[in-house]
């Protein structure tokens, strides 16, 4: 079956512009996560959606970052007024709510802010 997909795969933007990153989770997965990996760093948690519950936004680094999940499926991560330190690979993952804790990752979006 189809895995987690993300688009675009690469995004180059100028400092100060807004960007939107998209994630399509595995069908039937109720949990969706966003992480980012900066150069030489581990994966840093950003935000987590579980069903109809309020999202866990505790990892968002600033109020320039926001995310939504429409219809319990597709999610969009928005970064406003991008800064150079936002350059990273943004990874989306999804998981089943009750069948273990394994998260399945998409290929990521590489964001470069110039």
């Amino acid at each position: 079956g189809a895995g987690v997909s993300q688009s675009p795969s690469n995004k180059v933007t100028e400092k100060g512009k807004d960007v939107e990153l998209r994630c399509d989770p595995i069908s039937g997965h109720t949990a969706l996560y966003w992480y980012r990996q900066s150069l030489g760093q581990g994966l840093e948690f950003l935000i987590y959606f579980q069903g109809n519950s309020a999202p866990d936004k505790s990892g968002l680094p600033s109020d320039r970052f926001s995310a939504e999940r429409t219809g319990g499926s597709v999610s969009t991560l928005t970064i406003q007024r991008t800064q150079q330190e936002d350059s990273a690979v943004y990874l989306c993952a999804s998981s089943l709510s009750v069948a273990g804790y394994e998260q399945y990752f998409g290929p990521g979006t590489r964001l470069t802010v110039t």
């Binding site: 760093q41 581990g42 994966l43 866990d56 273990g100 804790y101 998260q103 399945y104 990752f105 998409g106």
Partner: protein, 115 residues
């Protein structure tokens, strides 16, 4: 504050030998640990996991050992194969009543298998 640490950024192992990747954690509230493998330009893929109530879990060539008193876990790959060359991430989940929770990842260890 790095709660999950992988102190070796890289490791080279001869093909056929055992690869041992190490991970240390500081938060005693972690109750589930996972290893992920990542190839360049791909997302991480789940490899193997272990609950904090166990000290060993084995799946084919892969075995994860957990030492709770030392807050240490390790991944053993034997025998190592060239296709095992990748970056390996250790991850941990906090104890929760809700099941799924965010994972806290280490910084990764790049494993290179030498033919």
């Amino acid at each position: 504050d790095q709660q999950v640490k992988q102190n070796s950024p890289s490791l080279s192992v001869q093909e056929g030998r055992i690869s041992i990747l190490n991970c240390d954690y500081t938060n005693s509230m972690f109750d589930y640990f996972l290893w992920y493998k990542k190839y360049p330009a791909e997302g991480p893929t789940f490899l193997i996991s272990i609950s904090s109530i166990k000290d060993k879990n084995e799946d084919g060539r892969f075995t994860v050992f957990l030492n709770k008193s030392a807050k240490h876990l390790s991944l053993h790959i034997v025998p190592s194969q060239p296709g095992d060359s990748a970056v390996y991430f250790c991850a941990a989940k906090l104890r929760s009543n809700f099941g799924n929770e965010k994972l806290t990842f280490g910084t990764g260890t790049r494993l290179t298998i030498i033919p």
